[in-house]
């Protein structure tokens, strides 16, 4: 059978960046083909070429065996290629129906197209488990449904091949499972799916074939049945990956942070952090596990001084600092904070890296006297941090938003670790970060611990918690459900995360 799509010798440069090097790929009709690689490996560029956003400098695209030229998205759509973008291409104030019809109206008036689309949506909903209310305003739908609208858009345009770019990044596990069921149904009915992701588990769970990209090249294509997570990870990074973090036993010292009967209430008066007590000692990593939204974020905010507790104490090196509610004061006391949401709280996208690298420490005398900021010093500081923490590209003048997620996170971790804190609190250190950077970030955090500093780690990734922590606390509905050692089984922690108490906190 002829492949649905063939890419032959695709080459693309952006200035000095060689984004795609002689890439060749064949996508079998009716299969789910995964393309995996670290951020910046060239996956998105390749798909953008296939969808007509960019033109390849060299190479050939064949659709169903025929060589084609794809100069624009409309060419791609006409050839039966549909794309579901990572950031949805939806008009939020429009209804589902209007979004589906946009660009495929078929006449000067949209009335007939809306009628046709409504009937088509009913059919697609039945065939593929793609139910959406056609009259709902897209901006008011949850992301899972918005994604469904994107898929419907592509199918309405007669897509035979569907490209999904990092589709699960915004989805809950349940929504992701539903998406995978939809994709399977699509391929069962003869459609072809290209799935771009950097999540190895998804590749293993859903794809038929997988191609691994690294630095612009396809380094391997495998049948998914014949490979495993370890091999793929190794191919992605180009060397053996330690899936388990190597660290020696902890040698805890005196208590640095003590949280006593801490309660925090939201505006409606509901306790989101409910009577939580624990302590963190020098030279240990305490991990807080839990399903997202069970009070971890609020707990972090209180400890970092961003919000004030309703009651209870945060005792840091013998002083109750909880009542202060002042992050700058906290930092001055020797507490560093890597926030969960790096885009909104960790850095400022439109600032250059050097500026983002001093946020929260900008008042230090080492960066200029009085009201003056010494730009040379700021840049020099950023430069050395970027080199030490392997931030790529190591350009202090590049806008923060231009770095990949992993490199942004390295920039923030560098800033906080270099402040020489007694306690580092870290929220979701590796969310949206690629494997190479994850490994590095873990190594630095453990190094900090081995230097005798205290670390409080909050993560929804159970693997991360288990491999990093010396003690594990599990939060559920604002309360600490229990404490376990690093040898706790996944099942044991899972039960606690689900709120099944085996012992009182």
């Amino acid at each position: 059978m002829t492949p649905a799509i063939e890419l032959i010798g695709i080459d693309k440069r952006f200035g000095s960046v060689h984004a795609n090097k002689d890439v060749s790929l064949a996508i079998a009709t009716g299969s789910i083909h995964g393309i995996i690689g670290e951020n910046g490996a060239g996956k998105s560029t390749l798909m953008s070429i296939l969808f007509g956003f960019y033109q390849a400098d060299a190479g050939e695209i064949r659709v169903k065996g025929k060589p084609v030229k794809i100069r624009s998205s409309s060419d791609a759509i006409a050839l039966g290629i549909g794309m579901v973008h990572q950031h949805f291409m939806l008009v939020e104030p429009f209804t589902v129906l209007e979004n589906v019809v946009l660009g495929a109206e078929g006449g000067r008036l949209i009335g007939p197209a809306l009628v046709k689309a409504r009937a088509e949506l009913v059919r697609l909903a039945k065939d593929y488990e793609l139910e959406v209310d056609p009259d709902a305003i897209v901006g008011e739908l949850p992301v899972g449904l918005q994604q469904r609208v994107e898929i419907l858009k592509a199918l309405f345009r007669g897509a035979e091949t569907l490209i999904l770019d990092e589709p699960t990044g915004v989805l809950t596990p349940d929504e992701a499972d539903h998406l995978f069921r939809i994709l399977r149904t699509l391929t069962d009915q003869g459609k072809t799916v290209i799935l771009i992701t950097h999540k190895l588990r998804e590749i293993i769970a859903i794809t038929d074939h997988v191609s691994v990209m690294r630095r612009g090249e396809v380094v391997a294509t495998r049948k998914t049945m014949e490979t495993d997570v370890m091999e793929l990870a190794e191919l992605m990074v180009g060397r053996r990956v330690l899936m388990h973090v190597e660290k020696g036993p902890a040698t805890p010292g005196e208590t640095v942070l003590e949280v006593k009967n801490l309660t925090w209430k939201d505006r409606k008066g509901i306790a989101r952090v409910d009577n939580v007590s624990f302590s963190v000692r020098k030279g240990e990593i305490v991990g807080i596990a839990g399903v997202s939204g069970n009070g971890q974020s609020e707990l972090l905010d209180v400890i970092a001084g961003i919000t004030r507790p309703a009651s209870g104490q945060v005792i840091f090196e013998g002083k109750d600092i909880g009542i202060l509610g002042d992050p700058r004061h906290m930092r001055a006391e020797g507490l560093a904070h890597v926030p969960e949401d790096r885009q909104h709280r960790g850095l400022i996208g439109s600032f250059d890296a050097a500026e983002s690298a001093i946020l929260g420490w900008h008042h230090l005398d080492s960066l200029g006297k009085g009201y003056r900021l010494d730009r040379d010093k700021v840049i020099a500081r950023a430069k050395s941090e970027m080199e030490e923490f392997d931030v790529r590209p190591p350009d202090p003048l590049l806008k923060s938003s231009k770095f990949s997620g992993g490199n942004q996170q390295k920039l923030i971790i560098a800033r906080e670790i270099k402040s020489d804190p007694d306690l580092l609190i870290v929220g979701q250190p590796t969310r949206g970060v690629d494997i190479g950077a994850i490994e590095y970030i873990h190594k630095r955090i453990i190094q900090l611990r081995d230097e005798g500093k205290a670390v409080l780690l909050v993560s929804v990734e159970l693997d991360e918690i288990r491999s990093m922590s010396d003690r594990i606390l599990v939060m559920f509905a604002g309360r600490v459900m229990g404490e376990r050692g690093p040898d706790a089984t996944e099942r044991e922690l899972g039960l606690l995360m689900a709120g099944v108490a085996q012992d009182a906190a």
């Binding site: 998205s73 008036l109 197209a113």
Partner: protein, 315 residues
């Protein structure tokens, strides 16, 4: 009774340029191009209409030239905003300054009357229709005196509102135009040209401002005098915000502002308990009301999401 009829008829007259400019702004801004330059486009159109009409002796030729001039200015704004991705507010302000200066300089050079254009003869103007046979009939006559004493351009303005509302809601062009003002990337990925859509919107705005300008100098008045648009373009923008970027509410807002202007004209020289109200105070009222209404009396006003943001094809 006669005073009220006059006041309402005047309201309709005064709101015509506001409606045209407001709908011009509606088209432009729904496509994502902020148009501060409505005022400038109207002003240059008013000047060109009066000049061309004076030279050629035809109101229609005046109108035609006014529309051309206004569209030319609109295209400058379009080029700056769409191709060059410039700041749309700056470009609009530049259009306003250019129009104000150019009209006076050219007017002085051509007609040597200190920036004025020569007074137009009747055939050089859009005169109101008259139906004297209706005016004596009870009730019908009252309506006729309010609604049937306007020039063709006024009826055009009132026809443009439902036409625009319909086109935006029901046509392919309208759907795409609204989409490009909200999320141009969605339009681009659907295989539709963002620039072409925005240019079309900007040209429509130019045409409507051209008609508005011609109405001011050849229908409301019989010559061009400097700064004769007197901020109507900005009031139209205020009305647009007030109306939350929708056509029918925009009509209502423009009628309200037109009513205030009419009251301003009528109340000049009025006195309360023997105290003469200063003319300036009366003239100020529509503007004060605009500020008050915009500051407090309208709910959240949500502009098209992409308005003012140049589209860069970047991911």
């Amino acid at each position: 009774m006669n005073l009220y009829i006059e006041l309402l008829a005047s309201t309709i007259r005064m709101s015509v340029p506001l409606i045209l400019a407001c709908i011009a702004g509606l088209w432009s801004e729904r496509s994502g191009i902020v148009d501060i330059g409505l005022e400038g486009k109207m002003l240059i159109a008013a000047f060109v209409a009066a000049s061309a009409s004076a030279v050629f002796g035809s109101a229609w030729i005046g109108l035609f030239c006014a529309v051309l001039a206004s569209v030319a200015f609109a295209l400058v704004h379009g080029y700056a905003s769409i191709n060059q991705r410039g700041n749309q507010v700056v470009s609009g302000v530049a259009i306003n300054m250019l129009a104000a200066g150019l009209a006076v300089v050219l007017g002085n050079e051509w007609f040597k009357e200190g920036g004025r254009t020569p007074a137009l003869p009747p055939e050089g103007r859009f005169l109101p229709f008259e139906f004297p046979m209706l005016y004596d009939i009870p009730v019908v006559g009252t309506f006729a005196k309010i609604f049937l004493t306007h020039s063709i351009l006024a009826y055009f303005a009132f026809a443009i509102v439902p036409l625009s509302a319909w086109a935006l809601a029901r046509t392919r062009f309208g759907l795409r135009l609204r989409a490009v003002g909200e999320n141009p990337q969605a339009v681009d990925t659907a295989g539709i040209s963002v620039a072409a859509l925005r240019y079309r919107a900007v040209i429509i705005a130019g045409v409507l401002c051209g008609v508005a300008g011609a109405f001011i100098s050849t229908s409301l008045s019989s010559s061009f005098v400097r700064d004769m648009t007197a901020g109507s373009g900005f009031m139209a923008l205020a009305a647009l915000i007030f109306a939350n970027w929708r056509a029918y509410p925009a009509l209502g807002a423009c009628l309200l502002f037109g009513f205030l202007q009419a009251i301003g004209n009528f109340a000049q020289g009025a006195s309360v308990d023997g105290f003469q109200i200063p003319v300036q105070f009366i003239n100020m009222l529509p503007y004060v009301l605009t500020v008050v209404l915009l500051a407090g009396f309208i709910g959240k006003s949500v502009p098209p999401r992409a308005s003012g943001i140049p589209y860069v094809k970047d991911r």
